[in-house]
């Protein structure tokens, strides 16, 4: 036997393996079959849909968006009437969704953080009250909670004439929650701009202070200066404009209130339900985040003579936030998605308007597709932010 007879070239090995035993070729086969199945099923559904639509003579496409909506919307951030187009009605819906989500997210974050910290309090009573709140809110479906709050508004609150008036300028009645707001004045716009300017300036000041500390070791109280400026400079502007104190007070005229700011019962019930429900989950996230910091970290910080405020600011927060922010963002997204339950209590959010549109025009596919696209847009922008944040905050290890 000659040596070259025993050695087999790579080509012959390849040829010797049947294709169903070759992992690479098999993978290609499996993928082709999977794609074929998925596209086959999609084509089947698509052709059925086409046939059904043709039979029911429903025109497809988004042409209906330009037609007159001819339905009223209870509350709207922009000018809207029944004579406007469907596109504008849907835009009103998007803005209403964003409004409730935006206010809800701010309130939820504040309330949830407080309850989460209260849950960890050494005060037994406070900790138990917080724990009770969390358990009750987490274990009752959000839809039931919304119905409950809505029932409180329209069943238990009196008519506008007998409205509850706990403090001057604040009314609760079955038309909603009405309160006084400051009369529009050019000072308010200026105060807003001032506040924004302080925030931007504070950011640069903080960066400069940090760089100086890196170079020289001298700390600079940028945060305190910013907070003080944010509090006092707008008040200074307000005083410079002559300290306008006129309030736009709600007044009972006929059967309803005029003036002030009104939160409708639908909006109030939705906001209340969403905030209470979500803040229970946020509280658990905050608690877990704070507990994730080992005692040794705090002891080490104290050992290098950091003040309690510095321990919180330099040691606990940066580490806890890394644990808290990702699940917190997904809770915020949940709040936005749950706001679609508005349709059940009659707040005109995007899903409610889209639902009315579907019922009026029969454009079911386009309507459901629009709902999905709008919410997917919210989710995708959130996850883009999350990826950026995770990359930015990822623990840099050795």
């Amino acid at each position: 036997m000659k040596p070259q007879d025993t050695s087999i070239s790579a080509d012959t090995i390849e040829a010797a393996i049947p294709f169903w035993r070759d992992a690479g070729k098999r993978a290609i086969g499996v993928q082709i079959i999977a794609l074929f199945l998925v596209s086959g099923v999609s084509y089947y559904l698509f052709s059925n849909t086409q046939a059904n639509l043709a039979r029911q003579s429903i025109a497809t496409g988004f042409g209906f968006l330009g037609k007159e909506a001819s339905f009223e919307i209870g509350e709207s951030l922009i000018r809207y009437s029944a004579a406007d187009s469907y596109a504008r009605a849907l835009w009103v819906g998007v803005l209403n969704t964003l409004q409730v989500a935006f206010i809800g997210i701010i309130l939820t974050t504040i309330l949830g953080s407080f309850i989460g910290i209260a849950r960890l309090s050494s005060n037994w009573l406070l900790s138990k009250v917080a724990a009770g709140f969390i358990e009750v809110m987490q274990n009752i479906p959000i839809l039931l909670q919304l119905f409950f709050w809505y029932a409180i508004f329209y069943e238990s609150f009196p008519a506008p004439r007998q409205a509850l008036n706990p403090i001057e300028g604040v009314f609760f009645c079955n038309r909603g929650f009405i309160f006084a707001i400051p009369e529009a004045h050019s000072a308010h716009t200026a105060m807003g701009w001032m506040f924004l300017a302080v925030l931007v300036g504070g950011w640069f000041l903080n960066r400069w202070g940090y760089q100086r500390q890196e170079l020289t070791g001298k700390a600079f109280p940028a945060a305190r200066i910013t907070i003080a400026a944010a509090l006092f400079l707008p008040i200074l502007i307000w005083a410079l404009y002559g300290a306008p104190t006129a309030m736009n007070m709600p007044e009972l005229r006929g059967f309803n209130f005029q003036g002030g700011l009104t939160f409708s019962p639908e909006f109030s019930a939705l906001l209340l339900g969403l905030v209470l429900y979500t803040s229970a989950f946020v509280a658990e996230i905050v608690r877990a985040g704070i507990q994730s910091i080992s005692q040794g970290q705090i002891e080490a910080a104290k050992a290098i003579a950091l003040r309690p405020g510095q321990v919180l600011h330099l040691v606990i927060f940066p580490q806890a936030l890394r644990v808290i922010i990702p699940p917190l963002t997904s809770q915020m997204l949940n709040l936005t998605k749950n706001s679609s339950l508005a349709v059940a209590i009659g707040y005109a959010d995007f899903v409610a308007v889209a639902n009315t549109t579907i019922n009026q025009t029969g454009q079911a596919i386009e309507g459901v597709a629009m709902i999905m696209v709008v919410y997917l847009f919210f989710s995708l922008s959130t996850s883009i932010f999350m990826n950026w944040y995770n990359k930015h905050m990822a623990l840099v290890e050795r």
């Binding site: 559904l45 005060n123 274990n139 479906p141 839809l143 039931l144 998605k337 919410y375 997917l376």
Partner: protein, 363 residues
Amino acid sequence: MTEATTAKRAQLQPPSSNVGVVGWLKTNLFSTWYNSLLTFILLGMLALTLPPVFQWAFIDSLWNSSAEACRNIEGACWSVVPHNFRFIILGFFPEGQEWRPILAMVLLLGLVIYSKERSRWKKSLAWLWLINLIVMGTLMSGGVLGMPVVETSQWSGLPLTLILSFFGMVVAYPMGIFLALGRRSKMPAIKTLCVVYIEMIRGVPLISLLFMSSIMFPLFLPEGVTIDKVLRALVAIILFTAAYIAEVVRGGLQAMPRGQYEAADSLGLNYYQTMRLIILPQALKIVIPPSVGILLSVFKDTSLVVIIALFDVLKTTMVTLSNPDWAGYSKEAYIFLALLYFVFCYAMSSYSRRLEKELHTGH
């Protein structure tokens, strides 16, 4: 010797302010000045809110009276619940056949309680679950053993809620496992399909899928074929839940150390054997507690079928409240329902927490 010397020393008691009730109060409620302040503020708030609520719920209330008697009282009219109990719980299920949904619920709850013990988690338990679900379905729909057929449109109340959540969970679980495996696959086409599916479903609210099921599914089917409303909602819940289960299972798969895969490879196991014998048994064990969490949220989410007009336990309550006799007692009825949901959900969540503690065998 040493014993004698220690015995001679007088045992110093801790100061009386540090033990007993006083000590407990001192450490837990009045440890610092701001804790004391907090305690007093909280006690004040509780004293302001609890007595009126107590008065409304227990003292001025009626528990089992006619609707007319409720008109004249200040407090809660709990009578709305006992008077409509049958309808709230069983809905439109035909008269005289009540034993069927009740037996189905008892079987389900019995099996749930039986499955709590980890020593009973065997292959036979899975078969028991399958048989139980089939028996439940048969009891509800009838048509055999002399039980008259009950259309799914008459399935309502608590049995519908339980069927939607448990059938949804059981069917969605295998689907979720396949999706999770697909997402971890090295084949780009399979991976892309799974990622797109999971992210798309997780990005939209359940209600949009329910709308899809109620308005679009009929369009998808060829002419003449219809599937009933309950099944359509169930399909939507399954599609939705599977995506969430996939993410939970993926977490378990990612927690498996690479050594497990390599050991399986070195034994010459193929992909199917590796997954079935090595990876999934371990990965699924890790994800049991979050899976109970998903069952909990599915159970809560089934209440959304109200919006597409299925008569689950929330909808039957609302129907009761639309009766002019009982209109106006929403608070009482909703509190009862909240209590019902709370009992189920609290049991599940505390069980999930207990399991997590038990299964956490690491350091």
